[in-house]
Symmetry: D2
Subunit: 355 residues, 4 copies
């Protein structure tokens, strides 16, 4: 069988570079083109130095894109929605890693992103590209949305509790995300200047982070609330010293007294057969709970939990690499689903230790 | 007037070293002795290399301590309580930086530390050494307890809201603390091994952290609940890449709809005249909210807040240097109160930027 | 063809863990046993958390090792030499990653390691396991030595200049190595305690580092000086903030005035066809020269050079991951040579960017 | 006696901010104005957040500068030379922290900086502002130049050996500097973008660094070579993960066999009475040699050495904080000399440990 021809638009950013790295080594894929408005004509490795000696591809101009089997869009938020009809003429399957098609409801979009969505007629078609929740839909999908990196960790960490109906929705859901610098992208600026960013513990979005909307949508689905979770969701984000990685700490209040065995059962049933989810909860050692640093380059989402029975509270921790399971790796996993491939194809790197 | 003669017990640890550094440059203090069981006979600077060329003091044996005006105890938790009667014969004023005398209630102590307190008869005498809350008591105190580093940040950040009666105590208080490696002390071990600790985002205590007890006690006092806050307190702690510093992010739910002006007024009234508390809340720039890294070596606690009016929620952020305002610096400030000195004496270093 | 059966002795350390990770994903290898004196009975992933969900292997006791096709020794220096006869009864091919068999001359060994070598009769048999210099010998070898991590970077960086006879050996060779914390191993201690090691720029071995001996031996061979290079070799090592990685900066003085084209030709001829060596020397960008951080997990050694024509001096820079090309990765590459496999088998991970 | 009125031009950069911090707490100085072309009208603490609550000063426009007693210029290289006549009308004493007046010889300037010096007639007047070498001249000086941060560490580390005539000048002097990110200034850019700069070990200037010229000039003076040292000086610079700090490792070859006692004597004689130089050379412990990280905020230059007797080689290590002893701290020390004050005034902060 011939290889899947894949092209990337917006290939000079971090997500685009990560996708290129993954697809170069993917056993069933051939990269046909990587477009970049700003870097057209230059070698990929001039921007992504880890690809030196591994590929001779040069960036092409976006207007020179040719038809292919799957098109990955790694454009800034707001850039792809208006052009989506055009992109869909180029490929029968499109995966958009921006935020433009994450929310199915134009109301929810408007509330969190401001302004009218530029292509509301496509919202219903787009599938939220999280295989663990939407595997069946992905196998049929022609338009798939990437997922927010912090949203992915939060949703994967919390989904089993919501699906099992354990959560007291009268109480708030509090999610605190710690995140590395690569999530802010490849463009330098004051907030990424090393003397200021190094060693920072910076509350950059204590309230109102847009990834909240994805939690509200996806956890709502699990609760049969199609207009979004009605529970109060308090999401805050803090930048920490790390390039790649996210740790989400979520405080969930339960509607009944349970013991830890119930939690183990709920998580094992949800994730026992998932190739990229590991339950991490050990009695001893330094890595008792999910730790993002050992996930750099891997597609795992590690999930742990701790019960505070007296307070009917569970603390859920979920870790991932924001450029992998939080972006490019997850997109490749979604692509594997869309094409009926082994879901782990091209995604086997396990992460390093120590690192 | 002659200088205050101060001695330190347990001077080879991080808190002891920081105290020594502060007292060496304190205009009203003379260090008479620094005791260390393990380092007796060695120069201070052999353990604290920043003190090279600044002092010729050597550690003495604990049993060789002589009378002085104020004795600082920097011993492991549990070590000072049983010996306190002895230490009080050496000095009319004792400041114990361990956790042994932080809790006034032996019940609360037993619940959080396990086992009977070894000197319950002294619990009533000890003052929780946070000048911003107990200034008047400190001026009379002979036995003062240091404060927990994460507790200090949390309590200072939250006190104005509790004192003003703004908090909905039917809802949980969720506090997530991010903390540097020096808080775990000077003894090497698996959890501080650099290849593992570097770049870590490690949930080391998702539930049940002992510093919770200090919040329960001190916020309870502010609410007229002498047995401790009855509200549910969900405190979790995450180690991040940083040597010195804490950032606490607290989610508080309010019992009425308020606007931001109310919060400004409440915080300004509480802290407008405090020398070591700064309200940090700016519209632009990289340092819009408290950032622990620029506090290294300073005694400031920086506090910020952001209102989520729709959810009747405030996110409070508080940052400090765990060895300064979270330990030794705060102890010197307390000492200044006890001796009627200018509270800022010896504590003027403003912190560095960039760093 | 059946898979190569490989076993690891000393599998709980960093090199052993890295080897296990590589061999688990090696297409031609099956790990039969991983021995550890201290961890026997425990799961591999209890020590190497990146291997969770990837293998169910447990550590066995060293005395329970069974015959296999190739045995990797990851023991502390001095531990394998005395036991080598025993290990060779277990496998027809042994790769010893300790320093015990790096030096062919017992005199050189004695000068740099002190004391008599415990198995001098085997020194002649052992091949210095650097494929770029000893590929032909490796294909016949039954006893192969791993290479020192800083020595590997230095030798690979300098070999082309020495082989070409460009170096003025009347002048000193000055090599300054910058190195991450994982090179000091998995055992915690005062020098790896995070509050002290974090952000350090520590001259831990300004003179007399044992890796010098490998330079003297290997560069000597290239100059036809079988007793070792007669030139003065000044090697110093500085620990920097990094977990994995080495950058070596070498100052070489030339015996004639040359221009940069000569250098390009010499390096291209030496390494143009090497799968794991990249010449990195660009006119612009942030990654103009070798940078170890983007090599974490990869088996590349990146090499760059800059000519100071006026001073007849070349500065050579070489970067690698000390656990990969500096240890386990290079050992797998050597194994591939020994078994006549594609040299890149199991070693294709390209490294991450950003990271 | 009234306070010295000091003003700063170029106060929004890192050196300007550090100077402001030091002068705010200097017992004999009053800051009258801080000028900034880009920030005029804004509060100092909007740019230097560590100065919050410590000063209400706002930046003024450079054209609004008033006469004062001493004017500090913290402008980019090349900006002050052409304006120097103007600045000297504003203050009887000017300290220029740029590189414009570091070199006394216009030939040397032209060779290293390219182009004609814009004010050659002033070169003879300017004093190289290193108190340890030019204390007497400083007490008379009206125009003083700041010193290059890496040059300062190198010169202070090497001066005793050169002055004592121990160096074999037929052999090269090799100096390798490791340096933190703050040395590149406050302007963000690709090379300071956190995901790329974090954890970097980057050879940014393997040959030809301009600080070489200062070594050539100042070590030349000590050898009676007024046109500059004739020895070959090989200086290379590597950026490492650190915000503040420099470690210089210098390899010096000696013209005779000496023992370590000679070195101790030479260094003790040179620096025994210097307030800001410490000889750091210990037999045990983690801080056996100079370590820049514990110098952050301090004005110390720590110097160590190790003799390789067999090779007649000394490795000299020198560490300092590039913004303190490498820039602003040293400038204040020079100012203290110029005004006949205690040289340590305003410079007593000892640095932190751990940090």
């Amino acid at each position: 069988m011939s290889r899947i021809r894949a092209a990337i638009v917006g290939g000079s950013g971090y997500t685009g570079g990560e996708l290129a790295r993954l697809l170069l080594f993917h056993p069933e894929v051939e990269i046909t083109q990587v477009a970049s408005g700003s870097r057209a004509g230059q070698f990929l490795h001039s921007v992504h130095p880890n690809l030196r000696k591994l590929t001779g591809i040069r960036f092409c101009r976006p207007e020179d894109l040719m038809p292919c089997d799957v098109l990955f869009l790694c454009l800034p938020h707001g850039a792809s929605a208006g052009m989506m009809e055009h992109y869909r003429t180029l490929a029968p399957r499109v995966i958009d890693l921006s935020a433009d098609f994450r929310l199915r409801s134009s109301t929810l979009y408007q509330r969190w992103y401001g302004g009218e969505h530029p292509a509301t007629h496509l919202l219903g078609e787009a599938v939220y590209g999280l295989p663990e929740l939407h595997r069946a839909e992905l196998s049929e999908a022609t338009l798939v949305s990437g997922t927010g990196c912090m949203a992915t960790a939060s949703i994967l960490g919390l989904a089993p509790l919501y699906r099992a109906g354990l959560v007291n929705e009268q109480m708030p859901l509090v999610v605190e995300a710690k995140i590395g610098s690569s999530a802010a992208g490849a463009a330098p600026g004051a907030s990424s200047h090393h003397p200021d960013r190094s060693g920072a513990v910076r509350s950059f979005q204590p309230t109102g982070h847009r990834h909240s909307a994805e939690l509200i949508q996806e956890l709502g689905v699990l609760r049969g609330q199609p207009d979004g979770l009605t529970q109060s969701v308090a999401f805050s984000a803090t930048a920490v010293e790390l390039v790649r990685g996210i740790l989400v700490t979520a405080h969930v209040f339960l509607n009944e007294q349970i013991d830890e065995k119930v939690l183990w059962r709920v998580y094992r049933e949800a994730y026992g057969r998932e190739p990229f989810i590991r339950i991490v909860k050990e009695r001893s050692g330094v890595y008792r709970y999910p730790e993002p640093k050992i996930l750099a380059g891997s597609n795992f989402c590690d999930i742990g939990f701790e019960l505070d029975a007296a307070q009917r509270r569970v603390v859920v921790m979920a870790a991932l690499d924001n450029l992998m399971k939080g972006a490019a790796g997850n997109a490749v996993q979604a692509m594997n689903c869309m094409f009926g491939l082994d879901e782990t194809a091209g995604l086997l790197f396990p992460g390093l230790h120590p690192v």
